[in-house]
Amino acid sequence: MQKNQSIEIGALLLEIGALLMSAGANTNRIRLTMRRIAKSYGYKAEYLITHRAIMLTLQNPNGDLAFNQVKQTYAQVPNFMMVSGISRLSWRIVDENLSVETVWQEIERLKLLPKYPKLIILATVALACAAFCRLGGGNFTEMLIVFLASFSGLFIKQELGKKKVNPYFGVFLASFITTMICGVIGVWYPFQHDNMAFVTSVLYLIPGIPLINSISDIMDGNSLNGIIRALNGIVISFAIASGLLIAVLIFNAV
């Protein structure tokens, strides 16, 4: 019985770590959450957390080795609802001493939580890019163009993501198509504000989570994960830039 329990708790900790890593939490948060849960069940956890895999060793209260396993993390899809849910769950485990079965049920429930409707995601993100355009000094016609371009670009990026295209290539294509739409409309309607539409229509692609998490990881001393995230963010920025630049060169807007 004791042995089975340690295997269950080990699998639970690995699953929580993998889910947090894929949902976009920083490394320190993953470490603290795993340690908090392990401690509340009376185990001592030692782990190695990387971008693609998590390695965990559990010691039972007597100090004997109870569990040792490596788990691959999932694909990186930002999902703050999952992070928030797991954070609340970890405090409930500490406060209410939930059983392992209940925690598994809660995790399954969190995985099935409804996401926002697809049309609402597309519309609000496109509206956000239009807001950027306005903040940069664009007028309302330019905002409309940006809205259309970002809407189609994000749709294409999501469809490419479903087809399992390389994520960097997906970002490149989305950036290229978005700016091409802006450019084609710009042939009939010349922009008044130095191509503000070009700049702001690709802003939905910016790698905000990798760049901000990389700084916080480096500050926490998880330098290796920080460097990996920074590199990830830089490559995405480069993909956006190359897509944008090709379109700008085609329309000779330089």
Partner: protein
């Protein structure tokens, strides 16, 4: 009078931009209103400092620090980790246009064959490039500031003034 209307309009656009990214990152519904308010306040701090102090980097840093501290408050009220609020709220401050002018400058430099144009072009490109870099650093450090200053592991352990909370 016109200035105030202009200011209020920008206030709303900062919030709208943050909400778009919040929904892209799939945040819980209860956090949407705090994210809107935080993004608008942080953006206003940036605009005010830009108007008075003429320093974009300092304005962005202070705006991001404000968002960082507000995110701790919001985390206590709405029971979500602070960075769920902070990351969507700071994204409207990302220096998209400076990054664009930097790249545009680099292409111009690559195609340039005129000696007299070279130095002013290089000046502009490097200024824009460093502005982009420093603004990005200011955003990241600003968001992280509360954790850095209070030296706590979790936002739950940070004691908030003006807020009743149970002992953990």
């Amino acid at each position: 009078m016109m200035d105030w209307i202009d200011f209020f309009e920008k206030w709303i656009w900062f919030g709208v931009a943050a909400i778009g990214f919040a929904i892209l990152f799939n945040v819980p519904k209860r956090t949407l209103i705090p994210i809107f308010i935080m993004a608008a306040l942080g953006g206003s701090v940036k605009l005010v400092l830009l108007h008075w102090g003429d320093s974009l980097v300092l304005g962005t840093l202070l705006g991001a620090v404000l968002i960082g501290f507000l995110s701790i408050y919001a985390a206590h009220f709405k029971h979500s980790p602070p960075f769920v609020f902070a990351i969507p709220a700071v994204i409207p401050m990302v220096p998209g246009s400076y990054a664009y002018y930097t790249m545009k400058g680099i292409i111009k430099l690559a195609n340039n064959s005129n000696n007299t144009d070279f130095v002013p072009l290089l000046n502009d490109t490097i200024t824009n490039g460093f502005k982009t870099l420093f603004i990005l650093m200011a955003i990241a450090i600003g968001v992280f500031a509360p954790m850095l200053l209070t030296r706590r592991d979790s936002a739950k352990q940070i004691k908030m003034p003006l807020l009743k909370q149970d002992k953990k």
